[in-house]
């Protein structure tokens, strides 16, 4: 992208986002630099004087080190630095977040213990699809409601199904209210015997396939969970309300490759369907453009000069101009799709971002502040 074509007119809006919002959710497909972007937004929050916390999902090791997250911890740790606000970071610990939630909604400590000790429950955090997404949103809610952070920035998991995290709270409550669950706990509820017999037959069949222990664990879990569904459901409703609230901003993170741009379109559509307006688009790893000359003309020149050094130089320029112009086409469509959200194009950088200096450098392409 040449100057003036890089969405820089909107840059001031990202400053505003970080100053005014209480929650920034960074979403996008895997491999587009979401975690780094979340860290960059968090750093900017601290630099604009706010008490900020960044919740990351799975940072690369050196970024984790830079954020003081060397040891896995569900509690925010503070990153010292020369900024007027505060920067805290925490890594999502799905299991302990879920454990806390169970403890909160259990009627008695014994009920909580029974659930936490159940093998089926212990599998939920690792195996039930959407749990990680759900817990990321739960953590966001908890940090927003129950601590005094002024800005909470969350990274979202690179999910198979792009927007699982929007649906995740609802999904878990649906799981807990599943009619099979009704069937499984039926014996203790004294439901009609006929229903019970059908359920037992069904369970026997399932047992034949996966083994009886597995089924017993599941039944024990649902029995232990009885009475807690309502609390979970209400919490899920409040989390979803917070996601749609005006104090929350969704920032779409993308890369200019065709497939990730397509996924970003899909994200934008799904968010719109969910009543959420994308408040910013950050595109990482954008190729530079070096000239206004057309790639086709440059390629033709390279063909004529084939075999010479100059031919090589033209081929190279033509290659990069072709990439830049294709990327520009793809991104123009995406920018339209999220209009009037502010845009920021972050160019290819010399190396991976793994320290505060690198984060500040990315920040110069998103915010108006100087890197110093």
């Amino acid at each position: 992208m040449t100057d003036g074509n890089d969405g820089s007119a909107g840059v001031a809006d990202f400053d505003k986002l970080v100053r005014d919002r209480r929650i920034v959710v960074c979403c996008g497909s895997g491999g587009v630099g979401k975690t780094t972007t979340a860290a960059v937004v968090g750093l900017e929050g601290a630099r604009s004087g706010r008490r900020t916390v960044v919740v990351t999902i799975d940072p690369a090791k050196r970024l984790a080190d830079a954020l003081g997250l060397a040891g896995l911890t569900g509690t925010p740790s503070r990153i010292e630095g020369d900024w007027p606000g505060e920067l805290w970071a925490t890594m999502l610990d799905t299991k302990s977040t879920f454990d806390d939630l169970v403890a909160k909604y259990a009627a008695t400590p014994e009920q909580a213990e029974r659930i936490l000790a159940n093998r089926f429950y212990r599998n939920i955090s690792g195996a039930l699809s959407g749990t990680q997404e759900y817990m990321a949103m739960e953590k966001l809610y908890e940090l927003h409601e129950e601590s005094d952070f002024e800005l909470v920035v969350v990274d979202t998991p690179p999910t198979r199904n792009a927007l699982d995290f929007l649906d995740a709270p609802r999904r878990l409550s649906r799981f807990l209210e599943h009619r099979l669950f009704r069937m499984l706990v039926a014996p203790s509820r004294g439901v009609l015997k006929a229903v019970n017999v059908a359920a037992q037959t069904f369970l026997r069949t399932v047992s034949r396939v996966v083994g009886g222990d597995v089924v017993q664990d599941a039944i024990a879990f649902f029995q232990a969970f009885e009475g807690m569904e309502e609390g979970f459901r209400m919490r899920a409703v409040r989390v979803n309300e917070l996601l749609a609230a005006p104090e929350t901003a969704f920032v779409l993170v993308a890369s200019p490759r065709q497939d990730t741009v397509e996924e970003a379109h899909f994200f934008a559509d799904r968010l719109r369907e969910a009543g959420i307006v994308v408040q910013g688009l950050i595109v990482n790893r954008v190729h530079p453009s070096f000239t206004d000359a057309l790639p086709e003309a440059l390629a033709a020149r390279a063909d004529t000069l084939d075999g010479t050094d100059l031919g090589g130089l033209y081929r190279n320029l033509a290659d990069f101009e072709q990439v830049a112009s294709r990327e520009h086409e793809h991104l123009a469509g995406l920018a339209d799709a999220v209009s009037p959200a502010p845009l920021a194009w972050v160019p290819f950088l010399r190396s991976d971002v793994h320290d505060l200096v690198g984060m500040a450098e990315v920040g110069t392409h998103v915010f108006t502040r100087s890197p110093g």
Binding site: S29, V210, R257, F290, G312, N316
Partner: protein, 323 residues
Amino acid sequence: MNPEQFFAASRLVIVAGKGGVGKTTVSATLARAAALSGLSTLVVEVEGKSGLPTMFGQRALGYDETVLSRGGGPAGAADVRARTLTADGALLEYLRDHGLSRVSNRLVSSGALDIVATAAPGIKDILLLGKVKQLERAGVADLIVLDAPAAGHAITFLQSARSLLDSVSVGPINAQARDVLELLEDHERCQVVLVTVPEETPVNEAVETAFSLEDRVGVGLGPIVVNGVYPELPGMTADPVAAAAAAGVSVRGGEAEALAAAAAFRRDRTSLQADQVGRLADQLPLPQLRLPFLFTTGIGPTELDRLAHAFLAQVDVLAGLPL
């Protein structure tokens, strides 16, 4: 090594790598390259949303097979077929084949699979891998390419057989897990091709994944594919004005600067890539196959054929290297 030997190393090739490194591109390239060598190929995809058909100029995939590119012609290429496997679909088929069709629809439609899958994690993965094993056993194609799930999930996915043997000690799922484990551990039937790009974090992750896969899953690793390597070009260190003089032409001032700036950018990125490729070679004693960076943002049949030919040329260079 010639392509025939490479593709004969095992009938099943599992392609794994983190999101964004071009795993699906490499799966498609492998399939197309095998087909160009005369081997019928089936690509199996498990995530339900794949760019695979677009690369072959085709529409969406389904649970049943689709032909992505037809064989024949003067080059004598073979077919590339593909299908998307789902855990639900595999379960239905499995239950039907094991005389349990009466409950199968109910089990799937009631969403019970979600509960069962939570009770025994990995059960969905084993259903998918079990189906792949069945295809491998039946010899449905000369080569089966499995485009594995992305990221760290690839390890969990391939480890599911071992984990399930612990939690489900009897019954058909246990038997299924045993068969899958046997397949994964048999290096003559199955190999894993890891994909990475020549950048810092992806290289780190590829190294970690390689060791986890060998230690924890026991699979055999084939060559590692380094995707998106800038091809060599002449003149990258030449001064544009001097190069123009040498070619007997002239360039405008602005154009000379653009040529120099673009060349400097490529030199920088090429040297960064070389560092990472070198680091990968130091840390991972696997033969490397390098695929060129394509200066297009999307991949269609033309680009895919270029990649397939680049791949075959690389395999030729692997002569003498053990797999």
